[in-house]
Symmetry: C2
Subunit: 300 residues, 2 copies
């Protein structure tokens, strides 16, 4: 039986998009429920400016709660060296860094050029104690909200620069806008895998244009086995307010379980958690499975 | 450049699910708008009992309006011989018949066994004047709302019985419940294509569990080139009230155009029609592209 690894990004990518600050105890309760449903890998929080992102002010407490869960591997997002230092001081053992292939998006996101961010990535890598796991998210690997389609060569060139800095890093190619189509997903992964063998790849899908599952399936068919997704599709799309963002974890669970691919997660238990998360005030949700199964229950 | 044929089923499959009767002039205006956007093949209406389905009481007028459109190929659904006779008297030149692979669904739908429906199909085939086009929809080809997963062998056995009756018929395998997963779509199409070479195949996807695009893509990768879809995702799911049913045509347009597959349709013009259709009172809509593009416009 084939298997995949799901990275549940709702507690970071999802919660960060929610306006009203979610009480820390509620966040921790959701982490417990996700863990009870079988989630082992979770983007638990981010270490960022508390002024800029008040929702993440409780990063230390949330990280420690996730680390206390049996077998849980929480990763935390860090935007720069200073916050990476904070995360490591708090005991983080799995760090995620993000930079954008497109200049316009990277400047908008972190006020730096991609080359400057690449240098910052190198400094963070140098800082990591042995055994610290590392995820590198390449935002706008396919498409940029400002510049449109990103050339394959731009993504490959950035990979060529970044990979030697940390050969053990897991690399996620991210569909930041949700506008990528399956043929582009397969083409870029095939080129990347061919150019850089031995790398552990991941895919981060958005469902904004209805292709979250189709693109994830395409990446799976290309050989990717690590997939980001957000419980209840929480997250929204910053470039299309009101529209869906992250692909819903429960939709991917439905697809992979149906295809006899092991996810390690109890889909029915997970859908119950997704319903709780969908009820969080101020969240923009997505996905179909939650609704389909709810309706079925109502009709029964 | 590869191309596909989209069969716009909104005016039949979609409208039929709408409670309040849509004025005939509004239906015809939508057919005109779909045609102006490039749609050439449309399931325009059905010839059924006016008592059972008051929404389809204007079948003759709608059919004639669709036939008057330049290059338009309207197909009409008929449930049995009597209504096929009505459709042909009205001048239908493209007829669609549906029967279910699963006994339970066929009995629920038309109060007959699949074998009895197969015999009725033979009688309809015998009735068709030369040159009449024929579409055969195999409902529950993958999954039945009452009996669950349908064995491949059951679908293949029914095909073996039906195909010789009308070797020229186009055969659609239909995901009636939306519960099919990509691995099942590819497996059944591969088996069917291998067992029955030379048949023109079609796929009818539902998006109830978020896999409408992924399953359509999978059928495309298996070699299918004719796809049903409904403008604005109109239709809903009778087995999951409140949930999405038919995959939205605009979502498939987005995917295939992005993949450089010719659809013959102007996607931007189509999305405008989809917005009109989504505003029809009493309709259950679906799809993502309409919302994503609307939000983008709002944000601009």
């Amino acid at each position: 039986m084939d298997s995949i690894e799901l990275v549940e990004v709702g507690p970071r990518d999802g919660f960060q998009s929610v306006g009203p600050v979610i009480p820390t105890k509620d966040k921790i309760a959701i982490l417990h429920a996700l863990h009870a449903a079988g989630i082992r890998r979770v983007e638990a929080t981010s270490f960022v400016s508390e002024t800029a992102v008040p929702q993440m002010a409780d990063a230390v407490e949330v990280l420690h709660a996730a680390q206390a869960l049996d077998g849980c591997d929480p990763q935390v997002l860090v935007p720069n060296l200073r916050h990476a230092e904070r995360a490591l001081r708090a005991g983080a053992r799995h760090v995620a860094f993000v930079l954008s292939v497109s200049e316009a998006h990277n400047r908008s996101n972190v006020k730096r050029s991609p080359a400057e961010s690449a240098a910052e990535y190198g400094r963070i890598v140098d800082l990591l104690p042995d055994g610290t796991k590392l995820r590198l998210n390449l935002a706008t690997a396919f498409d940029c909200p400002y510049d449109g389609t990103v050339d394959d060569e731009a993504t490959l060139a950035l990979l060529e620069r970044l990979l030697p800095l940390a050969p053990h890093a897991e690399i996620a190619l991210c569909d930041t806008t949700g506008r990528v189509v399956p043929s582009h997903v397969s083409r870029l992964f095939e080129k990347s895998m061919s150019a850089f063998p031995g790398v552990k790849w991941a895919f981060h899908a958005h469902d904004t244009y209805g292709l979250g599952a189709a693109n994830t399936l395409t990446a799976y068919n290309a050989g990717v086995r690590v997939f980001d997704a957000s419980v209840a599709g929480l997250g929204g799309c910053p470039f299309a307010p009101g529209a869906t963002g992250n692909v819903a974890t429960e939709d991917l669970l439905w697809m992979f379980e149906g295809m006899q691919v092991d996810t390690g997660v109890d889909a029915a238990a997970f859908v119950d958690v997704a319903r709780q998360v969908a009820a969080i005030p101020g969240g923009q949700t997505g996905g179909r499975v939650r609704e389909a199964l709810s309706s079925k229950r109502c009709a029964a």
